[in-house]
């Protein structure tokens, strides 16, 4: 059996060699490689209207821009985080038209006319959202990188339980109720590298019971 890591190392080395080659070639070094390579293939930018945290925003974007990058790089709402950029970690979770989604796995142009709520729209340092206050009270984070995604996800997830949407651990599909195991299952799309999970569950439970 071949070792997948072996080729990963080789790919990395090949990449380094190319980078080194560019650095030692003065003619190439003067011009940014990325722009030269893509300038002839650039696609026209498109207008995108979003309502973000209640405010109308008009943007002009390359269709490749994800909703996450539109929020962070164009609207400078850096609360939503880029973790894996592949929908695996949940750090980019925002609420679009009332639903939690991975903002890294959707294009901004697909959301023309949509309403987006980010962590900045849930609360502010002066006036925390109850879920934010509960995360602080229960120490629901350590490094905090996943926290905006955890909180946006939690808020929408409680709505999903209230709406009777079943989960993998729901015994009776017609009867959905809050429990710690429901929270664990429903929050599995939000990874916390610091493993603050017990405290996150305590925070969510407090908001549910309030």
């Amino acid at each position: 059996m071949s070792d997948p890591n072996d080729v990963t190392r080789r790919t990395l080395l090949a990449g380094s060699a190319v980078a080194a080659g560019i650095a030692t070639a003065p003619a190439l070094a003067r011009e940014p490689v990325a722009s030269r390579k893509t300038s002839s293939r650039m696609t026209p930018k498109m207008p995108v209207s979003l309502t973000v945290n209640g405010q109308a925003e008009a943007l002009t974007l390359d269709p490749r821009v994800t909703l996450l990058d539109a929020l962070r790089e164009h609207l400078h709402l850096t609360g939503s985080k880029k973790g894996c950029d592949h929908g695996q970690c949940g750090a980019c979770t925002v609420i679009v038209n009332g639903r939690r989604i991975n903002s890294c796995l959707t294009l901004a142009v697909m959301h023309d006319g949509d309403h987006v709520t980010t962590i900045e729209g849930l609360g502010s340092p002066e006036k925390l959202h109850p879920m934010q206050a509960a995360f602080v009270k229960h120490d629901g984070f350590q490094c905090g990188y996943c926290t905006p995604g955890q909180i946006c996800s939690s808020v929408a997830m409680l709505g999903e339980i209230k709406d009777g949407i079943p989960s993998h651990v729901t015994d009776d599909l017609t009867h959905v109720e809050f429990s710690d195991s429901e929270v664990r299952e429903r929050m599995s799309g939000n990874i916390c590298r610091c493993a603050a999970y017990p405290n996150i569950i305590a925070a969510i439970r407090e908001v549910h019971e309030a």
């Binding site: 071949s2 997948p4 893509t38 490749r64 991975n102 929408a156 949407i165 599995s188």
Partner: protein, 321 residues
Amino acid sequence: MRPFTYERAASAQAAAQAAVAYPNSKFIAGGTNLLDLMKLQIETPTHLIDVNHLGLDRIEKTPDGGLRIGAHVRNTDLAADKVVRRDYAVLSRALVSGASGQLRNKATTAGNLLQRTRCPYFYDMSKPCNKRKPGSGCAAIGGFNRNLAILGASDACIATHPSDMAVAMRLLDARVETVDSHGVTRAVPIAQFHRLPGDTPHIETVLQPGELITAVSLPKPLGGRHLYRKVRDRASYAFANVSVAAVIGDGFQHFAFGGLAHKPWRVEAAEARAAGRGAADAAEVLATGAFEGARGSGHNDFKLPLARRLVRAVVGEATGG
């Protein structure tokens, strides 16, 4: 991502026409699988046709007592639909066992059927893969093949179809409704919708270029007990090692399997042989007959005994044994 142009289609037929006009185009609905692959440059469309605004997001009863599910009904909405929960519970169970809450809120019925394999070599651009690059070879055969196919595979490809939903759809005899650029519609039985890899593993379904899925329809409810069991490497948010969808009723047992093949796996002949037998006897007939010709590649040899045990466990659960 490679550069691409983008349009919102105004109708299903217009979407199909656009797909014919742009040969290197893709439809995009939920986008949760396609954008992942585009970021890795495994998919490199030069034109995207957004089909999210075609009104294909409704679930309706059909005149024959079945259900017609719009192609772009989100996985969350399908799993939560009251009729689906009551009459097609195996479908709800399969849906909520897949992905995460965020992904299910985006992923669509049609997109779920069309999602691509999670074979690690399909994702690894440094490795040959006949599915990603036809004719380049298969690094999975003889490689790390723990979660790959044991049934219906070929010398060209041992990838599996990753969907849970599709396994339940196969069990329920769903039909995939489509429209093409001329407005011609057809309904493909799900058993014929996905292809085995053969020597063209890059062709995964019978859809023709430009053909758009508009709905998935279900026949009238089967009754019986509905179960979905999924064995995976962690308790949540992981693809199946082996999964089984089952509907067990008076004198019949229907079984379909995920994680074993390039398509949801079902052997109706084994079900027919098991019909009318006692529970334990029927389980043995199915545990043998559903997996004839199974062949592991080394690391995935465990899947055959696991699948057989799942059959026995599910029959036991359904019959209180």
